[in-house]
Amino acid sequence: MSNPAVLAAGVARRFGRRWVLRGIDLAIQPGQVVALTGRNGSGKTTLLRLIASILRPTRGEIQVFGFHTIREGASVRPLVGMLAHNAGIYDDLTAAENLVFALRMAGHSARRAPISEVLDRVGLTSFEFERVRGFSAGMRRRLGLARLLLRPPRLLLLDEPYASFDQDGIELVNEFAARIRDEGGAVILSTHDIGRAAVVADRRAHIADGLLGEQAIPGVPAAGGQP
């Protein structure tokens, strides 16, 4: 049996004196899309950052496809892609240059990379050689998505993916999440918009008071069900 895409055991994280997460247990299998919900400040983004190995848990541990996020962070990072609140792109580079930079940082050659095709896919063809400084929030998010399309991850982490996107952008996000799932990867989708997430999500995990509870999504058959 293959390793779970994500296996979290007793994960807690404290910022200063405040415990944001107090003991998260979570198992996500390859081929699952999980919608992560919770109020503002409930710790959704913190959990995604912990899974991505950007943050260290104060207690507990997380494995991604069998790799420990702290001890084997270098093995985890190539498997994970994240679309965060801030797209993490550089204002003074052009759209194409941002993608070239991302490819080179990922250890790939940018020479034959399908940069134009990917920008076309996210609707930024005519902005390929324009500096990002003038982009709207939605365009920045599209560029962030283009970066993920260039190097599709096995574990896709989407933090508020529907924010700033128009309907076309939302469909792009859901298509991409479905593609990762169909190719045997896994997706965690942090959102307040459960209605939009229900199009692709199999399960819903709700964070409250630093703990996680599992809920079925109304009207959505549980593909994969409980781990």
């Binding site: 270098a74 990072r77 993490g88 580079l93 240059e97």
Partner: protein, 226 residues
């Protein structure tokens, strides 16, 4: 190894491309350096002997104050759009981020010095051209150590709230030994090495550079994580 070199190159390219486009950092740092040199000139007043005695110190203090601005800016652009998190998420050794930032900052500070040192020579009537080779060596060795520590502490300060204030508070005390060596070597070159100690100061700078680089490289991954 090739992939790590590629990552280092990508960081250098990105930082220098952004700076070349905006020139915001370079213009402000060169302006500040010019102002510091002018103000020291006014404060000291005309008097060849005093200028001779302290010109090495003035030169390095100017490098120090103006360099801090560029270190702050170096990580500011990573924080603006959450880019630092994305940097940490890329595969490979995170020390490539440090080495890339270090090389970009080194190029930048040396470029500022190319403008600043002739200006200092002009204002303080320093015998620059007679000692250009040895002086360049001191500047490069001193700047390597300075930029290594500056890049490291700027990464550490980037996680703090009052980072603009915290950076000099963290950095300046650590720079004291390097600064003493650089000032002594510069003074010896510009105004005569009566004690024959310049070579020893240069060796000390090399030792500091190596120690600072190795220590910063080993500690970087721990300080860059939140």
């Amino acid at each position: 190894m090739n992939a790590e070199i590629q990552r280092v190159g990508a960081i250098v390219w990105k930082d220098l491309t952004a700076e070349r486009r905006t020139k915001a950092n370079f213009n402000s740092v060169v302006f500040l350096a010019g102002m510091i040199l002018l103000l020291f000139g006014f404060a000291i007043g005309p008097g060849g002997e005093i200028i001779d005695a302290i010109s090495g110190g003035v030169l390095w203090l100017t490098v120090l104050f103006s360099g801090v601005l560029s270190f702050n800016r170096s990580y500011e652009q990573e924080l603006e759009n959450g880019a630092l998190e994305m940097l940490l998420l890329y595969p490979g050794d995170r020390r490539a981020i440090f080495v890339g930032k270090l090389l970009a900052n080194l190029f930048f500070v040396l470029l500022v010095e190319v403008v600043m040192v002739p200006l200092a020579a002009l204002l303080y009537d320093l015998p620059l051209w007679a000692h250009i080779g040895p002086l360049a060596l001191v500047l490069v060795l001193g700047t390597i150590g300075f930029v290594t520590l500056g890049t490291f502490y700027a990464a550490m300060a980037s996680r703090l709230r009052a980072r603009e204030v915290m950076l000099p508070l963290l950095l300046f005390p650590m720079l004291v030994p390097l600064l003493v060596g650089a000032v002594q070597a510069t003074g010896g070159i510009l105004h005569g090495d009566l004690m024959g100690s310049t070579a020893s100061w240069l060796k000390l700078l090399v030792v500091f550079d190596v120690i600072f680089f190795v220590a910063a490289l080993l500690a970087f991954e721990h300080i860059i994580e939140d």
